[in-house]
Symmetry: C2
Subunit: 381 residues, 2 copies
């Protein structure tokens, strides 16, 4: 989400328009604006009272039903929210109370870390490997006496790393959760923008779906419909969903009915599958070009090409004294934006950065990486 | 917002459909659904990137500008939120901290009381008179050493009472706020649905508008556009707005852009003035019929006919042992819903209830009051 902030002076501003690998958002050309417009009209025509009335904090009933069917759970397991970050906030208010031990991946989404820190949770960041969170490290934590209330994972195409939690580790994490009585928060906004490889079962499913007691699942329509629609949701045990419903009612009465009604029409409509396919193929093309360009222009960098999502995590060789803040500044001067690795960690990350390929047109990717390589070189000089 | 909850048994259920004086929401017939649909289409056509992208927590920029112009303040005084209750929640998080003294009207909106209680604020409820909050009582509080951080007032067509704060008292309240260093929270969702009498200047204006340091103003498009659109806003000193912007960013990134873009097109469009006039005249008709019906069927009740808004506060003679919970139950049995006065107070209110006329069609009002009068009689028997 972070955009470039430094102001360019006339002397240093490049002639070419800036290229942003910083924003975890789709470029407008891969959003089906016509389809959304049609969906909004259909929603007002079909259910004027539901679109314009308050509704309740559980969300727009037909969309809630669609989500429940998608995940094979009864409707009372589902709560729709104004974007999934609002869902995170409600869940953290319930479970990440002051002093509560919470496990997250290292690195992880900067806003997740911030939300947990602000609530005074006792944070334990566990190394993220290419196949997901390091479970030996989690076990060592548990052996040391830490009793987590919550373990937050982004299982598919993780933000910022792009890594995916393996099936074996999914099973193992659930075993640990059941044995030690913590909740796994499966934060899964990118799952439906997989462009290669085989989909893996959700932790929620592996834990029994409707019978699950160890998983709270969150996802969003930001990546499949568009971010401005701000519709996300939680799936979890009904008693917890009911507590969050009360909290949501007292915060904003109900989430946005116009937006949810539009999403409901859109995802049930005929244009959605093709639009989603267009998003996936655009992301696949972009990551392919980024892969090639990084190998050519920044051969010293290591990274893993993801099978979906928006992000790729780049590490420069350790021990060479890289300072990613300086690299980011040099990049800004050259008209390219990145997010420093340090933003996704409590400490470290000076030799790493996140590249978001979701918002960069294919034609701009190589030029962006050229500028970035020049910035890396300049920052070392 | 509260709807009827008690389940009717087949034996006692009336043949006629239920009539709800409980919900503070407009009936769908006074919502301009066609106009909203056109506005949504225009918004997608005019600004596809702005509608579908994340945006930022200050809100959709063209709507924020419209609000700033409406109130004669620079844009950095304005923050748009997912409904004005979310704006209240953010402001309370900033100012109604645990132990902070907060003044409210007595009675006042039940969700306001709940939000303040949940945050651990030190609540001081001050009698609401027909011309607004009792300032002698406020002065006595201040003399007794109470140092409020915040005084919450609903100056126009108060919820639940329907009363309006007089011009003289507006000036006096601001004087007290400046002298004693507290913030007046001007919670004003009903101002634009005035159907009789002359509009009064806002406290925000009387405090200097852009130069105001003692007032935070909140309003909403729920009453002028529709509730399901969930768009509200705050106007206040830029430093406070900036703190709330950070809080909003960390909660949900940005409020709903699709909804805000639709509101922006709608309020700038040609249909809005006529639609608003239709809302006002429908509300005027409903309150007129309610006035007549109450005088005829419930002559022992006292109430003040409001000049706008959604609500009317009914008091039955004190000392007659009225029990409004029993009245509400008897009413439900007879197919009419009300909200007990006790919901709007920390104590008392057993002989009072709120009638919302916003959601009841003109043709149903007399029948609703007949049922209510029967319920009052039955509850005393």
């Amino acid at each position: 989400m972070t955009g470039p902030t430094a102001q360019q002076t006339p002397e240093t501003a490049p002639a070419a328009p800036p290229i942003s690998f910083a924003r975890g958002a789709p470029s407008t050309d891969i959003v089906d604006v016509e389809g959304l417009k049609e969906a909004a009209v259909a929603a007002f025509d079909t259910d004027p009272a539901g679109m314009t009335g308050y509704g309740t904090a559980v969300g727009y009933v037909p969309l809630r039903r669609w989500i429940a069917e998608k995940h094979g759970v009864p409707e009372d397991h589902v709560l729709v929210t104004n974007g999934s970050m609002q869902a995170d906030a409600f869940l953290f208010d319930e479970l990440a109370t002051p002093g509560a031990a919470v496990v997250t991946e290292r690195p992880t989404y900067d806003r997740t870390l911030l939300g947990l820190k602000q609530r005074g949770a006792d944070l334990h960041l566990v190394t993220l490997q290419e196949d997901g969170i390091d479970l030996d490290e989690v076990e060592a934590l548990l052996r040391s006496g830490v009793r987590p209330a919550l373990a937050h994972v982004i299982p598919n195409f993780q933000n910022p790393a792009g890594y995916t939690l393996s099936l074996e580790k999914r099973h193992q994490l659930l075993e640990l959760a059941r044995e030690h009585g913590f909740v796994v928060f499966e934060d899964d906004p990118y799952v439906d923008v997989r462009f290669s490889g085989e989909p893996l079962p959700r932790l929620l499913e592996l834990d029994g779906g409707a019978a699950s007691t160890s998983v709270v699942y969150a996802s969003s329509f930001s990546k499949t419909v568009c971010p401005g629609i701000r519709v996300g949701y939680l799936v979890g045990p009904p008693a917890l969903v009911e507590r969050i419903r009360v909290r949501a009612t007292n915060t904003y009465i109900a989430p946005n009915m116009v937006a949810q009604g539009t999403v409901n029409q859109y995802v049930r409509g005929t244009r959605f599958p093709a639009a989603l396919e267009r998003v996936r193929s655009a992301l696949a093309e972009r990551v392919g070009l980024l892969d090639v360009a990084l190998r050519e222009h920044l051969p010293q960098a290591s990274f893993r090409r993801p099978d979906g999502g928006y992000f790729l995590w780049v590490e420069l060789p350790a021990g060479e004294g890289h300072d990613v803040r300086r690299i980011a500044q040099e990049a800004t001067r050259r008209g390219v934006a990145i997010v420093p690795g340090t933003d996704f960690l409590l400490d470290g990350g000076e030799n790493a950065f996140r590249l978001a390929f979701s918002g960069v047109q294919a034609a701009d990717i190589e030029e962006g990486v050229r500028r970035l390589a020049a910035a890396v070189a300049a920052a070392q000089g």
